[in-house]
């Protein structure tokens, strides 16, 4: 394209020069004019070439960067693997490169996905013979749209997106990484009648502010289909209200927070760093997952393609579980990882918030994990989340069957066993 443009410009100018027979006195002026024109055209061609080259470079930037990161992670991982082998007294053959299986995972800049980033940084995937690319999504909806086009095989997300993945994308739930309820809250202004009414007025739900009457007809800004929405549904249920009793306005979390601070709406559903910001602004958490007794886990979902390669997926689960347990046992260091992840992904965060969030978040111990999957605690949690969705008409009873049948904890149990055999102290 570039060459064709250049030839056309040059030909046009040359033709003009040949065709015109100018008087001698005007020839110098014409030559100067031609020179200027020629220079202009050259500059234009150079500018266009630069634009095209920069466009091509920009287009190719991301994959190259990703490759670079993957390569550096791989090198680092291999180094660590070799160290470990040396420590164990095994002889590693350096001439024989280890063949890695390429896999793509998906995650979010959230605590439930942190184990993946830690494992990537520490080279634990390479130890298992995996060459991993991690696609980071800021929300569940685009993450699920990507799996439809086979962009990733195993992903970690919140339960709201997880349920959609099980119902609409025929994914399989392999387990969960962290509890996912600590920062999900419904905020009101300090001078609102709900806040002024105080806590302890709803029987059985002492943490919720206000009475059911005070919530009726209120405008609540909320990202529908998110865990914040689920928490709102649980709160309304605790108050004995239905979704129609309040006016829920769908907004993205950042816009909702901005609008609420600008005086719009009576309440807002916030999570993650927005919760911390909200409390910093003096907003009152009128309800939370804990207050509404909604204890939901994040979920690990796998595509059919991932399930077909059982061995690789098991290895992924082994590493994710190892990463999760590391986060659980090294909260301070994990907080730094979380902070770095937020900054890398453009999520507003402070080191103080990262520390308090990571330290306050709940994750089961190995024994608790085992107990959850040996009994029916995990499926009971999924069922509870689905009941709220069914009550408000988002999903049907038939979808409940899909969710309950879409869970297979075998690989997570194997991962727990593997962890106990190899890494547990």
């Amino acid at each position: 394209m570039c060459r064709r443009g250049k030839r056309r410009l040059a030909g046009g100018w040359h033709g003009f020069g040949k065709a015109c027979a100018l008087p001698k006195s005007n020839k110098r002026k014409a030559a100067q004019k031609d020179g200027v024109q020629k220079m202009k055209k050259k500059l234009l061609a150079l500018f266009m070439a630069l634009v095209m080259v920069s466009g091509v470079m920009a287009g190719c930037g991301s994959p190259k960067e990703a490759e670079g990161e993957a390569a550096s992670a791989q090198t680092e991982g291999e180094g660590q693997t070799e160290n470990k082998q040396a420590e164990d007294g095994q002889e590693a053959d350096e001439d024989e490169p280890k063949e890695l299986t390429k896999v793509t995972l998906s995650a979010q800049p959230a605590l439930h996905s942190l184990g993946i980033y830690v494992a990537l940084d520490k080279g634990w995937f390479e130890e298992e013979g995996l060459d991993v690319d991690v696609l980071t999504y800021i929300a569940g909806a685009p993450q699920l749209e990507a799996v439809a086009s086979d962009s990733w095989s195993v992903g970690v997300m919140g339960i709201a997106a997880g349920v959609t993945g099980l119902v609409s994308y025929d994914l399989t739930c392999l387990g969960f990484s962290f509890w996912d309820y600590s920062s999900q809250k419904l905020y009101v202004r300090p001078d609102s009648e709900i806040a002024l009414a105080g806590q302890g007025q709803v029987e059985g739900y002492e943490g919720i502010y206000g009475t059911p009457e005070l919530y009726k007809g209120k405008t609540i800004l909320c990202t529908k289909g998110s865990l914040g929405h689920l928490q709102l549904l649980a709160t309304l249920d605790a108050l004995g209200l239905k979704e129609d009793d309040v006016n829920i306005v769908h907004m993205e979390i950042a816009a909702a927070y901005q609008a609420f601070l600008a005086g719009e709406g009576d309440a807002v559903c916030l999570w993650s760093t927005f919760s911390a910001d909200g409390e910093g602004e003096g907003l009152i958490p009128a309800s939370s997952c804990e207050a509404a007794k909604l204890f939901v886990p994040s979920v690990i979902l796998a595509s059919d393609k991932a399930l077909a390669d059982e061995e690789t997926t098991q290895k992924i689960m082994n590493v994710i579980f190892r990463g999760t347990m590391w986060v659980n046992e090294n909260r301070e260091e994990a907080a730094q990882y979380y902070y770095d992840l937020c900054i890398d992904e453009g999520v507003t965060c402070t080191e103080e918030y990262a520390l308090s969030y990571v330290q306050e978040s709940d994750a089961p111990t190995v024994e608790e994990y085992k107990a959850m999957f040996e009994g029916d605690e995990f499926s009971a949690n999924l069922e509870m989340a689905m009941k709220y969705y069914i009550a408000c008409g988002t999903y049907s009873e038939a979808d409940m069957d899909k969710v309950m049948n879409g869970f297979d904890g075998t690989m997570l149990m194997n991962a727990i066993e593997f962890y106990e055999e190899n890494y547990a102290e």
Partner: protein, 275 residues
């Protein structure tokens, strides 16, 4: 005899026009039928996976269900259509009311052009979606804010076309008006505006398309009803049928508006010589 010849020529011309309009209608129907057939085949034979596309019949089924079922996003189809029409038409009306007079005045009076032109040139490249944070702060999350987002996308073609239209006024007509003693304002009203009307209508048509295409962005701001909201919820819940139903509905409403617009244009500009 002469009259008979004239009448027969008129009849012939009318017959030709009728034939041509029937042929055009047939071609349009064949085009749409072809698209539907292709779409159905792509969905039916799994050329694109089922969780990425649904067949046209499933879209029709979803639209029929949505007439009486509020699930999963919480409103009936009619409520979505009404809400979107209010938002889109408010923004569009605002764009016509401000864009057309401003464009005409800028094109006719140099002082206004020099005063407003640079401001317009600065604001013109800013995409409507970039205004969302400011509209939240200054106008909240209600109809006004959404209408302003639509207005920002529909306003620009209105202004540019009105401006260009009046600039292209034949100078001979202006001179004739001046010779007959018309004031500058009278010439603007009686010569400039009528001569700009074909371009103004072209701008209005482009604006209408822009208003509809910005609907999803406007309803991203905040909504609990609307076709854009329906599409967003379909995306959140992984319901491709809901997404495609919203898209089809926007398309159908666009066709209806275009047809109505054609009639209005033909009536208002009936003096125009058409080929």
């Amino acid at each position: 005899m002469e009259q008979m010849i004239r009448e027969s020529k008129k009849r012939e011309a009318l017959g030709r026009m009728k034939k041509e309009s029937i042929r055009n209608l047939c071609l349009g129907i064949v085009g749409i039928a072809g698209l539907l057939l292709l779409w159905d085949m792509v969905a039916r034979f799994g050329i694109i996976p089922k969780n990425l596309i649904v067949s046209p019949w499933e879209v029709v089924k979803t639209l029929a269900i949505k007439m009486s079922d509020t699930k999963p996003e919480g409103s009936l189809l009619l409520a979505h259509i009404t809400s979107s029409l209010i938002v889109a038409l408010s923004g569009y009306a605002l764009a016509l009311l401000i864009g057309i007079p401003l464009g005409l005045l800028m094109g006719w009076y140099k002082a206004i052009d020099r005063l407003i032109g640079p401001v317009f040139e600065v604001l013109r490249p800013v995409p409507p979606i970039a205004w969302i944070p400011f509209t939240i702060i200054f106008l909240g999350i209600g109809l006004e804010a959404k209408a302003v987002i639509i207005f920002l996308s529909a306003f620009i073609p209105c202004l540019i076309n009105s401006y260009s239209g009046i600039k292209l006024t034949n100078q001979v007509y202006v001179n004739v008006a001046a010779t007959c003693g018309a004031s500058r304002w009278e010439t603007f009203c009686r010569v400039g505006i009528p001569s700009a009307m074909p371009m103004v209508f072209a701008g209005m048509r482009i604006s209408l398309g822009n208003a509809w295409s910005t609907l999803v962005a406007a309803e991203m701001l905040a909504a609990n009803k609307g076709l854009g909201y329906m599409i967003l919820m379909g995306r959140t819940y992984g319901r491709v049928d809901l997404i495609m139903s919203g898209m089809v509905m926007i398309g159908i409403l666009g066709i209806i508006f275009n047809a109505v617009f054609d009639r209005v244009e033909r009536f208002v500009l009936r003096w125009r010589v058409t080929r």
